[in-house]
């Protein structure tokens, strides 16, 4: 491992904790001895090449995959000890934005976004305003009645974010939310993630291999008064740390864990090459 740092500068105990987590499939080990913590309000960016286990890590963190060893503790729940029926309840309190959006293609946008509410038997008169509010947040209210196959890749991703935040979860996992999108649409998605982080205080794990997204999250914040994204050092609130930290995966292990400046200043040849 090139470097390791703690995140003591952010107040509060960890909301997500991985302790020596390992998982493998028929093809071999995907994650080996992964340990890290995420404190409330923090965004942990999981960097790594394609196939380095980023998606698997997120699915383990959501209890969608069970590790072969180690412990995963999220919001005080040890996911490795929980039964599937309890995990279903637990997952209702987190949001998950999948790589390609994973919208239900037989349901329209409104039904996709309200899926969780309908499962919880929320009254129809309460459901519609909440769906509209979530769609307004991602600027997709016009797509209310459309089906996923009528939407572009970026629009599907935004609807997926709306679906994930319908219950205002304290934790959201993003799996390559800008993968395969053009730079303008990617920026829109990153702005949405910044808004969720800075306006709603959402804690998140974000897997990506796009450095511009990672550093966009690390170096910018959403200013609610100005209603726009501003560089973090110019936000006028005296914030001197970024709530964004990095974790780099390589060969199924954590290769680097730390803050933006540590990553940028690292002399490790692999990290230098990865960042170049």
């Amino acid at each position: 491992m090139a470097s390791k740092s703690t995140i003591d500068s952010i107040p509060g105990g960890p909301l997500i904790r991985f302790e020596d987590v390992s998982i493998g499939f028929d093809e071999g080990e995907v994650l080996r001895g992964i340990s890290f913590e995420v404190v409330p309000g923090e965004t942990k960016v999981i960097l790594g090449e394609s196939g380095s286990g980023k998606t698997v890590l997120l699915k383990v963190a959501a209890g969608l995959l069970r590790p072969q060893s180690g412990r995963v503790v999220v919001m005080g729940h040890d996911l490795t000890e929980m039964k599937e029926v309890d995990l279903l309840d637990f997952r209702r309190r987190i949001g998950f934005v999948f790589q390609e959006g994973a919208l239900f293609d037989s349901l329209n946008v409104a039904d996709n976004v309200s899926f969780r509410l309908r499962e919880e038997s929320v009254a129809l008169e309460e459901t519609e305003p909440r769906v509209r509010e979530a769609l307004r947040f991602v600027e997709m209210e016009d797509a209310y009645d459309k089906f996923p196959d009528e939407l572009s890749g970026g629009m599907r991703r935004r609807v997926s974010i709306a679906r994930a935040l319908i219950d205002q979860p304290p934790i959201v996992y993003y799996d390559s939310p800008t993968g395969g999108l053009d730079p303008v649409t990617s920026q829109t998605i990153i702005t949405l993630i910044l808004r969720l982080r800075d306006l709603n205080g959402v804690t998140s794990l974000l897997a990506t291999h796009r450095l511009q997204d990672a550093f966009g999250l690390a170096n910018f914040a959403f200013d609610s008064k100005a209603d726009r994204v501003v560089p973090i050092w110019e936000d006028g609130k005296g914030r001197h740390f970024s709530p964004t930290n990095f974790l780099v995966l390589r060969d199924a292990q954590v290769y680097f864990q730390g803050e933006t400046q540590e990553l940028l200043k690292s002399a490790d040849p692999y990290l230098r090459e990865f960042l170049s």
Binding site: L64, E84, R92, F98, A102, L103, D105, R116, E119
Partner: protein, 273 residues
């Protein structure tokens, strides 16, 4: 002192015994996973949350959707049975037995089997490919991430819908098969409606009806669970969806025919002998 010899490609190749062992283990694991899914789905049929709208939607797709092919196939199966047996009955001067033969063969055997195989081809493949596509596009994971149990939401409604509709489809297949048989018997053997239908109805005993309706229930469980099982374990993108669909249809069809033999034997023992 021991020396280290580099591994050659031959030395890393698994032996045929090890390969057979692995294949057997995979099959047993598959059977275990399938049994678990069946048990889980059957148990969840009787507990909340339930999805009645999804059950109705599936009943429409399976029941109403399959009706045209059931009507067409049932009619011609009944007709072709009479065509093939007419000459034999004429030879022995027992043309009046046509109604008995068509009724017993259709109700006991052909109706359930043909309806089961047709629903396997039409809906089993549809279920496997739909669920397979949902798996490879992460929709099933998204469902779990949203706190919904895919077995309750996807498997149970399909299972209930198939169990409710296949016996009805079988009854329809039996009826139109008899109509087809009567029309052919009328034109080839000159049988009147009274002769044919009297014999056909009188030939059927309570046991025959039980056999004719018990088999489709078992076949429905096989079709829905096998299709859902292969759909939900799809791996490998769109190719995987194709493979899952083919495997589901083949396994369900073979399972229907094999179980038909044993069910037939058991039900004949209980109700006929």
């Amino acid at each position: 002192m021991a020396t280290l010899t580099p591994k050659t490609p031959e030395s890393t190749k698994p032996s045929p015994i090890a390969g057979l062992n692995d294949a057997l283990k995979r099959q047993i694991l598959s059977l275990q996973s399938y049994s678990y899914l069946v048990g889980d789905a059957l148990a969840k049929m009787f507990s909340a949350p339930r999805y009645p709208e999804d059950v109705l939607e599936q009943m429409d797709a399976i029941g109403v959707g399959s009706l045209p092919i059931i009507l067409l196939t049932g009619f011609f199966i009944g007709g072709v049975m009479v065509l093939n047996t007419a000459a034999q009955f004429q030879r022995f001067g027992e043309t009046a037995l046509t109604g008995d033969t068509v009724a017993i063969a259709l109700v006991r055997e052909l109706g359930p089997t043909i309806a089961g195989l047709l629903v396997t081809g039409r809906n089993g493949s549809g279920i496997a490919s739909e669920l397979g596509s949902m798996v490879v596009t992460e929709q099933v994971d998204a469902m779990r991430a949203l706190g919904t149990d895919p077995v309750r939401k996807l498997v149970v409604p399909r299972l209930i819908a198939t169990v409710l509709t296949l016996p009805l489809l079988t009854a329809v297949a039996d009826l139109v098969g008899l109509i087809g048989g009567y029309i052919v018997a009328h034109f080839t053997l000159g049988l009147s409606a009274v002769e044919f239908w009297n014999r056909a109805v009188q030939a059927l005993a309570f046991g025959d009806l039980v056999m004719g309706l018990a088999k489709p229930v078992v076949f429905a469980i096989i079709i829905a669970t096998v299709a859902c099982f292969y759909g939900l374990r799809t791996r490998g993108g769109t190719q995987g969806v194709g493979r899952a669909t083919t495997t589901a249809v083949v396994v369900a069809s073979v399972a229907i025919l094999v179980s038909d033999f044993f069910l037939g034997k058991l039900l004949l023992y209980w109700f006929v002998s």
